[in-house]
C-alpha cells in the first residue's frame, strides 16, 4: 500500500475515538461482534512524536503584508545618513523586486523612528513598540530571515507551506497530521483573523493540501457564529437538536451493524464531536469569565468586539484547551506608501493595534506557566526594502533578503538576538536563516523531524521543508 492510499484509508477514521459521550467504541464493537472490522487508528488521536518535544502548541502571529523590520527592529542609522542616495549597485545587481516596472526605486530611505536598546539583552526595538520592548528579554529575535518569493500570495504560501505553489499542506496541517490533537471538542488547528480584509491567498494558507481535510485549519469567526454552521437553525431548540442527533445515531448504528463499514463509526463520532463543539466553541469565544485585569493587560475595551487583541486572548484560551496550532492573521501590513498604507501614518497605527496584545499574550502565557510549552511566533511573509518607493507618501517595497521575526517560549532562548544584517539592512552578513530552517526548527521543537515527516504524493515524498537543505537552528534553542 502506498502512503497516499493509506492516508485516504485513514480519513475514514476521522475523529473516531472513544469519545465518552453517547456511543463509545466499546458499544460499537459489541454491535460488530459478528463482523468486527480490524482495529484502526484515529488520525487525530495524539501520536508518538519522533523525539521528545519541547513544545505542545504554537501560536503564530502572522502580520499579513510584510511589516517593516527597519522601522521596528533592525536599527540602521546609516539609512538616515544616506537618505535619498542610491544603494550601492553591488547590493542589487541581478536582483528582482516587486513593482520593478513602476514604483520601485533604488534610493535609500531614512525614517524618524527612535530606537533604544531594551532589557538585559539589549535588543534594539523602536519606540513604536513600547510593550514589545518591555518583554525583550523573553523574546528571541532573528534579524536575518530570508524567503524566496516577493509577491504576497506566493510568499504567504511559502511561509505557510514551504512552497509558492498552491496545494501543499500548511504548517498547522503538518503539525496536526504528525502529532494529532489533544483536544476532543475543538479542532486541532484554528485560524483567527483581524484587520479590514482577509489575507491574500485565503483558505489556501491553512489548507491541508494533499493531506485529508481533517488536518486543515478551521477559521474561528470574529462575528456571528464562531464556526460556520455551529448554531442550530432558527427555531430549532437545543432539545430538538439533541433528539435529531440521537435518532441519527440510532439509525446509523443499525446500519453499521448491517454493513460493518467503519466509516459509519467515524460518522457516529463526528456527530458527537460536532454536538460538543456546538457548546465548546461558543464557550471558548465567551470572554465573560476573564478578569478585568486580564482584559486590561491585552488592552481589550469591549470583549465582544473583534480585534487582534481579542484574538490574542482567544489564542491563550485555545492553548489552555489543548489546541495544537493557532494562527492569527492581521492584515494591512503592506506599507508601500500609498494613500491607505504608508509608513508615516499607518505603520504607527498598526503598531499600536498589535503591540500591547502581543506582549500581553507572552506575559499571560508566562504567568500561567504555559509559555514553557507554547511557542509564540511573530512575523510576516517578507520584510521591506531599505530603499523607498515613489508613491503618494513614504513607503518601502517587498523585501526577501533579510527581515526580522521573533519567537518566544517553547524552548526558544529568551533574550537573544540572532543574525546580523549589513549597514543598510539589505542582506545577512552573519547567520542567514531561511524559511525552511524556521520550519525545521518549529517542527523540531514540537518533536518532529522535518526529514521524516512526509507524505507520498505523485511519486514524491512531500515535506514541509521540501527538497532543498534545511537545518534546525540549534543555537536559538535553550
Amino acid at each position: 500500500m502506498t502512503d497516499s492510499f493509506r492516508l485516504l484509508g485513514r480519513t475514514r477514521r476521522h475523529f473516531f475515538r472513544d469519545c465518552g459521550v453517547g456511543l463509545g467504541s466499546i458499544a460499537l464493537s459489541s454491535l460488530l461482534a459478528q463482523d468486527k472490522p480490524a482495529p484502526t487508528a484515529d488520525p487525530l488521536a495524539p501520536k508518538t512524536p519522533h523525539h521528545r518535544p519541547k513544545a505542545k502548541s504554537i501560536i503564530y502571529l502572522f502580520m499579513a503584508g510584510g511589516p517593516s523590520q527597519l522601522e521596528f527592529f533592525d536599527h540602521k542609522p546609516k539609512l538616515n545618513a544616506l537618505n535619498g542616495q542610491p544603494i550601492p549597485a553591488s547590493f542589487i545587481e541581478g536582483k528582482r523586486f516587486a513593482f520593478m516596472g513602476s514604483s520601485h526605486r533604488i534610493n535609500l530611505l531614512g525614517h524618524d523612528k527612535q530606537f533604544k536598546q531594551h532589557g538585559q539583552s539589549g535588543a534594539w526595538v523602536s519606540d513604536m513598540l513600547p510593550h514589545t520592548a518591555a518583554i525583550a528579554d523573553d523574546l528571541c529575535f532573528v534579524k536575518t530571515c530570508k524567503t524566496d518569493l516577493f509577491n504576497h500570495a506566493p510568499a504567504k504560501l511559502f511561509m505557510n507551506t514551504g512552497s509558492g505553489l498552491f496545494g501543499r499542506p500548511s504548517m498547522g496541517a503538518w503539525m496536526t497530521y504528525g502529532l494529532g490533537s489533544e483536544c476532543a471538542d475543538l479542532p486541532g488547528f484554528v485560524v483567527l483573523q483581524s484587520g479590514p480584509r482577509g489575507p491574500r491567498g485565503g483558505a489556501s494558507l491553512w489548507s491541508s493540501g494533499m493531506l485529508p481535510s481533517t488536518y486543515q485549519g478551521v477559521p474561528l469567526r470574529a462575528q456571528g457564529e464562531p464556526i460556520l454552521n455551529l448554531t442550530n437553525p432558527q427555531g430549532v431548540a437545543a432539545a430538538d437538536q439533541r433528539k435529531v442527533i440521537d435518532a441519527v445515531r440510532e439509525l446509523n448504528a443499525g446500519r453499521l451493524a448491517k454493513t460493518g463499514d467503519d466509516e459509519i463509526s467515524a460518522r457516529l463520532n463526528a456527530y458527537e464531536m460536532a454536538y460538543r463543539m456546538q457548546t465548546s466553541a461558543p464557550a471558548v469565544m465567551d470572554l465573560k469569565g476573564e478578569s478585568k485585569a486580564t482584559l486590561d493587560l491585552y488592552g481589550i475595551k469591549d470583549p465582544t468586539e473583534a480585534s487582534f487583541a481579542r484574538n490574542c486572548l482567544l489564542a491563550r484560551r485555545l492553548v489552555e484547551r489543548g489546541v495544537r496550532f493557532i494562527q492569527l492573521y492581521d492584515t494591512n501590513w503592506d506599507h508601500h506608501g500609498g494613500v491607505t498604507e504608508n509608513l508615516q501614518k499607518h505603520l504607527p497605527m498598526k503598531a499600536k493595534d498589535i503591540d500591547q496584545a502581543c506582549a500581553a499574550l507572552v506575559r499571560d502565557l508566562k504567568s500561567r506557566g504555559l509559555l514553557d510549552d507554547t511557542i509564540v511566533v511573530w512575523g510576516g511573509e517578507f520584510g521591506r526594502t531599505p530603499m523607498g518607493e515613489v508613491r503618494e507618501f513614504t513607503g518601502r517595497n517587498h523585501h526577501i533578503d533579510a527581515f526580522t521575526m521573533w519567537f518566544a517560549g517553547g524552548g526558544f532562548r529568551p533574550g537573544m538576538t540572532w543574525g546580523e544584517t549589513d549597514e543598510f539592512g539589505f542582506g545577512a552578513v552573519k547567520d542567514p536563516v531561511h524559511v525552511r530552517d524556521i520550519h525545521a526548527t518549529l517542527l523540531h521543537q514540537m518533536g518532529l523531524n522535518h526529514e521524516r515527516l512526509s507524505v507520498k504524493s505523485q511519486g514524491l515524498d512531500v515535506r514541509l521543508t521540501g527538497v532543498n537543505p534545511a537545518k534546525v537552528l540549534k543555537p536559538l534553542l535553550a
Binding site: 520593478m100 505553489l165 483558505a203 477559521p219 435518532a247 443499525g254 460536532a274
Partner: protein, 771 residues
Amino acid sequence: MVRPALLLFAFVWSVSADAKVSFNREIRPILSEQCFSCHGFDAKHRKADLRLDTREGALADNDGVRAIIPGDPAKSELWKRLLSTDPEEVMPPPEAHKPKLTAKQRDTLRRWIEEGALYEPHWAFTAPQRPALKEKGPAAIDVLIDQGLKEAGLKASAEASPEKLLRRLSLDLTGLPPTPAELDAFLKARAKDPQAAYVAAVDRLLASPAYGERWGRWWLDQARYADSNGYSIDAPRSIWKYRDWVVNSLNADLPFDRFTVEQLAGDLLPDAGESQRVATGFHRNTPLNQEGGIDVEQFRVDSVFDRVGTTGTVWLGLTVGCAQCHDHKFDPITQKEFYRMFAFFNNQEEPTMKVSDPARDEAKLAAAARDAEKALGAWLDQRAAALEQWESGLTKATTAKLSGPVKAALRKPAAKRNVTERALLFAASPGAADKTFKALQKKAKDAADLRDAAPTTLVLKELAKPRKTHLLTAGDFTRPAEEVSPGVLATLHAFKPDAGTVDRLDLARWVVAKENPLTARVIANRVWQAYFGRGLVETENDFGSQGTPPSHPELLDWLAVEFLERGWSLKSLHRTIVLTQTYRRDSANRADLVEKDPDNRLLARQTRLRLDAELVRDSALVASGLLTTKVGGPPVFPPIPDGVMSLGQVKRVWNTSQGPDRTRRGLYTFTYRVTPPPAFAVFDAPDGLSTCTRRNRSNTPLQALTLLNDPAFFAAAQAMAKVIEKEGLAAAFRRCTSRAPEAAELAVLGKLDRLSAARALLNLDETITRD
C-alpha cells in the same frame, strides 16, 4: 516505503512459490523506493556514477566493484551494502530515512540476483495486450476478477438488493438518487425479467442529460475548473461555456480521442469552429495572479508549467512535472524533454472569446443599440449651439474640476467626437438635468450594454510569431539555457508530427495515438476508480516506477484495449463496467473478508462510498423535491452562510440567486478559488488550483454541522417535512435511502416531530452514501 501490497498481491499475479521473481512487480518497486533517487535516471544528481535503473548500469564495472553480479549475490556490492550494519557502508544511507527492507523483500532480491538479475521494461511503457479469453464484454471482467478471488479462496458476495442496485446505478451514472416512481418502475420490470430490467435502467441513465453533469464534474476536477482567477485578487472569470462544452460532449459521447484533441488543440483543427475553440478552455483553467507588483512573465511561465504537468498527469498518468528542475529521478524523463513539452504550451495568446448564444438575436441587438444612439445623437445635434457656448466659457480653473473622461473629450476637436463623448460633455454642462436627455442617454447605454453582453469564455490561440523556448535552469524563468524545439517523451511511442510547424495539434494526436501505452490505461483506470473507490492502479496519477503496479494487470489491459477498440467511447466503457456481476455485488463487509482482504482489493464485494460534495447537495434536493433540473448556463449563486466571502483579500459580492436557480445542481454553483462554497469544501471538493484526479473522502464533525445546520440543508429539511406530511414517513425515508424502512427504524423516527424527522433523514449516513 515498504509496500505490503506486493505481498498481498502475490496471488493476484498468479505467482507460485517456485516461479521466477518478476522484475516489474517485485524488484522495480524496491529499487525505485530505495535506490533510484541517487542511482537512477537523473544523471546530474547520480551518486558514485552508479545507475541501477538499467541492467547495463547495475552490471558495470566501477573501479573493480560491480553492483550486481548475476547469479552471485554474495559477491554483488548491492547485496553487501544492503545487508551491511556499518553506517558508513550501508545503503541506503541512514540519513535518507528509507524504511528497512523486510526479510521477504531481501529474500526476493537475493533470489532475483541468483536467477540472473534480469530487467524488464516498465510495465506501463509497453502496449497493453488483451488477455486471451473466450468471454466478451462484462463477462470477461468478471472472469478476471473471479480468478483472483478463487486463488485467494474467497467467494463473491451475492448481488445487492434491487433497490440498492438502482440507487447505485443512478448515483454512479447521473449523480442523482432514484425517485420513488423510478424505483417502482424498476421493481415492476424486474419481476418480469431482472436482467432486461437492469440493462434498460443502465441505458436509460446513460441517455439522461444528468449523466453528462455527473461525469462532467469528474472531468472538471481534472481540468481544475473554477469560476475565478485565484491568488490574492481572485476576480471572477467567465469560462462556464467550457463547463457546458464538457457536459454536452460527454452526453453526446464524443469519442475520448476527439474529446482530447479538441481540448488540447481544438483551435488548430482544420475544421475548428466555435465549439472546438471553447474546448481549449481546458488549459485556460490555470489560476491567474493579478496582484500588484508582480512580474507577469513569472506567472505566465508558472501557468505553462502547470499546463505541461497537468497534461502529463491527466492523460499520461506520469509525474512529468518532476522534470521541471532536473531529470526525473525515477522515470526516464529528461529535463530537456520537459522543456520540449513546454514548448508546445509556450506559444499562445490567452484571449477572451465572445460566444454565440442561441437565446440572443445579435442583429436585432446591434440594430437596437444603433437606433438608440442615433436618437440621442439627433437630440444632441439640436443642442449643439448651447454646448458650444458652454465649452467656450470654460476657464482653466473650471476645466480642472471636470472628470478625466470629460477632459479627454474636450481635447478632441468637436467634429471628431462620437455620440457617447458628446453626451458626456452635455452631461457636464448646465443642461444636464434635462429629463429627455437623461432618458435618451440611458436608453443608448442600456442598448449598448445589452449588445455587448454576449457570453464570453477563455480560449487558447496560437501566437502568430512563435516564442522561443529555452530549458530553464532549475526551473527558474530568469535562467534560460539552451534553446529547445517542441517534442515528446522519447521513452514512449514514436512522435509523428504532420508536415509543417510542430504544434499542439501534433502533441494532442500523439497523446491519443493508438500506440500510446498510457492514455487508454490511465483513463480506464480512473473510470474504474469512480466505481470501486480505488483504481486497479492505486496511484491513479502515477503510472511510473514510483507508482503501484496494477492489482489486476490483465484486467487493466483488457479495459484499455476494449476502450480503444470501441472507438474510445466512454459510455460504452461505463456500460461494460456497470453490467458486470462484480459491480452489482452487495457492499456489506464480511467476517472472512475483514480477515483476508480488509481493503477489498479483490472485490469480493462492492464498496460503500460517501457521495461527492456536490452530490450530497443534489441528493438532498432530489429527495426533498426541490431540485431544478435545468442543464447548463452561467453559474448560479445559491444561498451561502454570511461572512464566507470576506475570507480573502478582496471581499467578493455574492448576489444570491432568486427563484429556481437557488436549487440547481451543485455543479452550477459559482466557485471562487480563494473562498470556495463552504458546504463543498467541507466534503472535499477540489479547490481548482491544480488538477485533481482523486478526491479525498474525509469524515469530519464539520460535515455533521453542515448537514445539521447549513441554511441550504435546513431548507431541504423543511421541504422534506412537507413530504412527510403529504406522503408519510416511510415514503420520505425511501426518497432518502431508496429502500423501505424497517419497523424499528420507523419507530425511531416516529418519535420525532416532522421537521426533526426530516432533518434526521437528511443526516443519515445512508442518505449521503452510495452502498
